[in-house]
Point group: C2
Chain length 250, copies 2
């Protein structure tokens, strides 16, 4: 069974490559994770991508997303268990399809960055019950969107960039990172660094959508504005996705 994993960028329906559009048009059936009502306008954004770029009305199957342990004692194991439950849910749907259909997954951002779709599809393949041949089409990541919105070059001249998560941020700073992109940080972990006087932040939420918010400047001076913007977006839309660059002042 042919499966296309297609990166569709970050929210705006036109932030998708011409190549990715061609890929979507080869798909017979789209599988999408049904995360319940909490992400209503994300589901609508996905529908808009299909309406705008794929002629006809492609078949879309909602696959209920398994419950996830949000306070696990072991983060790595909990993620693996959840990938497994998700893989079983997809396997069930794929087994009901004709082996000749082409299946597609729309992946927000870039499938290579902090997204589980590749791992889950590999898991299904490894079960051995469905003969899977998949490919990946890259998308614009939230990292690229954040940088573009702030007109930033992410690297300093010749220097490295660390991309990490809120969970690992303080550890990575302890190891010497001073030019960092932080993703998946529901807790705004950079608050722990307020008062040190050494960090600048370039923050963005709901990038690429009509509700995009941007704040940029010294962390100590900006943190209040960021907290307020974050709360506002969440109150208005039910969800907020934010990403930020932290770098020491040079």
């Amino acid at each position: 069974m042919k499966i296309h994993l297609v990166g569709v960028g970050g929210g705006h329906p036109d932030q998708i490559t011409v190549q990715a559009v061609a890929r979507l048009r080869e798909v017979d059936v789209f599988l999408v994770a049904d995360k319940g009502s909490s992400v209503g306008d994300l589901a609508e954004a996905r529908a808009e991508i299909l309406r705008r770029h794929v002629p006809g009305s492609p078949r879309v199957i909602q696959v209920p997303d398994p419950e996830r342990d949000r306070r696990p004692s072991d983060y790595g194991t909990a993620v693996v268990d959840w990938h497994d439950a998700r893989a079983r849910a997809y396997e069930k749907v794929l087994l009901d399809l004709d082996p000749d259909v082409v299946v597609g997954f729309l992946v927000w951002g870039d499938p290579a960055l902090y997204d589980s779709t590749i791992r889950v599809v590999e898991r299904v393949r490894d079960f051995g019950t469905v003969d899977i041949d998949f490919d990946v089409t890259p998308g614009i990541s939230s990292v690229s969107m954040l940088a573009a919105a702030h007109r930033l070059v992410l690297n300093r001249i010749g220097g490295p960039i660390v991309i990490t998560t809120g969970r690992a941020l303080l550890h990575d700073i302890g190891a010497g990172a001073d030019n960092i992109v932080v993703m998946l940080d529901g807790k705004l972990t950079c608050r722990e660094l307020v008062g040190t006087g050494t960090w600048d932040i370039h923050w963005g939420a709901n990038l690429g959508t009509d509700d995009e918010r941007l704040v940029s400047g010294p962390l100590d001076a900006c943190i209040g504005e960021i907290e307020r913007a974050r709360a506002d977006v969440k109150a208005e839309h039910g969800w907020v996705m934010d990403t930020y660059v932290l770098r020491t002042r040079v």
Copy 2:
């Protein structure tokens, strides 16, 4: 003067977002760096992007690229001097244009990653002789292309990614990096790590073009194949652009 910096992805003319295409169509004059005859098919790839996506024949001005010191005693200073020379060359061209024209720069990959265009345009703005208002449209980076070609997730679960250059690679490994994307490495610095037995590599050259080459596996076993593929591509096209992921085996 309005300037659009537009990321156009990595070589295939359709690896550009629908949004970026719309931006290109707003442009009256494209400025492109004339790097001489050494990169003939890159210039052709750029022309193909315009032919395919921009109706009519937009005006293109070739700006001679200043000489660059390839063996500087101080890398950072040499890069800054070169940015300065480049900025002066662009300033000269911009001063000759009507202030109402919309200027465009096509940027390979993503303008946020190891590309000088943003810095150079800021430099021109800071000269104060041209009133510049610029924006940035993100593109698919070679990092995303490499990952997609190998169907890789760049992060390990919850873990960080270090993006760095060949020049800084050994330093970053010394600081603890074990999951690394290496760019701008004309010397295949990973050869220094052969024999340690701990690294896997996922390597790609001329990604997204018809001449794409991919090699993946244990570094010790793959390095010979990578060296040969690299030499072949260079002999055939006069240039090779490669990127790779290095990670310790887990």
